[in-house]
Symmetry: C2
């Protein structure tokens, strides 16, 4: 019988989070280590080893059934190798399964997956996605990430790069995102773009309470300040979030129409704006769907924070064990 | 050993096409019967029975392994029942597996599927989709239909309604389609919309060779006339197809970005405009994709005509037999 414990690793550019996860229960123990990405891949691999070993020790005599690693970047279809992870400068192509495996004493299955897919998996087993068999996950952060869970599995596409929702265009005439796509949803509601757009929209109201928070020219404006202003009843901030929600609703409309998946889980820092964004998104989504697709639409907010990555990563190991008994 | 013959039925509003298909070979025999939809469901069911029986007779002592039926409309996840098929007025919800089964003497598996999915299946086994393990199919006809083949299977979504590409919006400010979606690709390049747009665009050129073909006010303008004019070198017609191809390319960009499926098969009557549409579509698609998605993009034309429906429908039966040996 395989252990019902696994280690989940959330490999970030600044911190590596490792967690010991008990199947269907959640985190038993966790730890964060500095990534030290500037010291090169070897150093980072050793940090992962250290974190994983701590969790293996914590598992004691039960042992662990395997290790899952979530990382931003494209992961190959075999789920061993990451290409150019965006938060680890200088990494080109690294077979994490092999490299981490070499550093560990025991012999464990190690599964690697894109961080957005891992977070969706965490949501599916422990978060807002739990009630759904299939859902679309969209993460509103610096970038706009996405993942598709279909019939309990992550839909990966033909190269492992599916669900790049942030780079879907809602307007050929729109502004470019950082991947050069015109009018992509990230170019409107990715965090920096959102702050910039809010600044442009709200700059002309010189009596705005935002000036107190964001300084001259609103140059330090953040989504959090907008949220606080909305909470204080500042209508232009509320209207601005509605504008952003409208963009979100439009891109979700394309996703729902193409996938016929009607449950949507929204995570990431910007989703903290909650109903200020999600309710307008729901209205725009329903308004832009063909009637046959409107039944059963739900948009919910993911409230799992950083732990989603560790939980989802650990579940990669549980899934592996189920498929290779 | 199951027979390697199956019957494929393409249930249209005007004609019912039935074909006897030899696995991996193609059509052995085919027949078309008038649907007589105006006489109600019972009559249509009897026509299907007659057609199928003819094919069973043609199969002789080999017999058939099953029957597949393609029909426009949403088909349930069990693939037995169609809801409100758009070409059969008065049909609400019909369990074709049961109803057709009752009328036949033998006991055969009967699988029902949406016509766009069936056509994609036909393309996958016998047409332009054959080289691909996964592809997006888009059908340019009166409507704009779609289907997703992923790892050799039709991707159906959560209710069987996936891949309604025609109703994906490329512009929130755009014209409405017949499902009330603003700026959907069908509202630009569905056949009637396309003819209307062409008329608006080209009306002002009174020396146009199109006036000879399409009469005063270009009121009988068809995509075929535009194609003929383009073939004669009439530049405004060529430019117009490029405009249409551009719309196609933009919606495909959303599809590729979401699905990470990079092979596209374009079928349907309007696709007869060939490279006049497909080449601009390819340019627009590449222009609107994030760099990581550009590798391996291919847009090919499906040249199988009506037989795609019968071939794909028959393959539903072969697939069923494989899964229920």
């Amino acid at each position: 019988m395989a252990s019902d414990l696994a280690v989940g690793v959330d490999l970030g550019g600044t911190m590596i989070k490792v967690g010991l996860v008990k199947r269907n229960k959640g985190l038993v123990q966790q730890k964060a280590l500095e990534t030290g990405a500037e010291n090169g891949p070897e150093h980072v691999l050793e940090r992962i080893r250290d974190g994983v070993n701590d969790m293996i020790t914590a598992a004691g005599s039960d042992g662990i059934c395997g290790i899952g690693i979530g990382i931003p970047g494209t992961v190959d279809m075999g789920r061993t190798t990451v290409f150019k992870p965006s938060n680890l400068p200088g990494w080109l192509e690294v077979n994490l399964t092999e490299e981490v495996g070499k550093l560990l004493e025991g012999d464990y299955p190690i599964v690697v997956e894109n961080d957005a897919n891992v977070a969706a998996f965490g949501s599916y087993f422990y978060g807002a996605g739990e009630p759904f068999d299939s859902f679309i996950m969209i993460t509103l952060g610096t970038g706009v990430g996405g993942a598709i869970v279909y019939q309990g599995k992550v839909f990966r596409g033909t190269t492992g790069g599916a669900a790049e929702i942030g780079h879907m265009s809602i307007d050929p005439m729109g502004p470019f995102d950082r991947a050069g796509v015109a009018g992509s949803v990230e170019a409107y509601i990715g965090q920096r773009f959102l702050s910039h757009a809010a600044r442009m929209k709200l700059l002309s109201d010189e009596d705005s309470i935002l000036y107190e928070m964001a300084g001259p020219d609103l140059k330090d404006l953040t989504p959090k300040m907008l949220f606080d202003a909305a909470e204080e009843g500042y209508q232009p901030a509320i209207d601005f979030f509605a504008w952003a929600g409208h963009k979100l609703g439009w891109v979700l409309s394309s996703c729902v129409t193409l996938l016929d998946i009607r449950k949507i889980v929204v995570g990431g820092g910007v989703s903290a704006a909650g109903q200020y964004i999600l309710e307008p998104a729901r209205v725009a989504l329903l308004d832009s769907l063909m009637p046959a697709m409107k039944d059963g639409i739900e948009i919910v907010r993911e409230t799992l924070g950083n732990e989603a990555g560790m939980l989802g990563a650990a579940h990669l190991a549980f899934e592996y064990i189920d498929e290779h008994p």
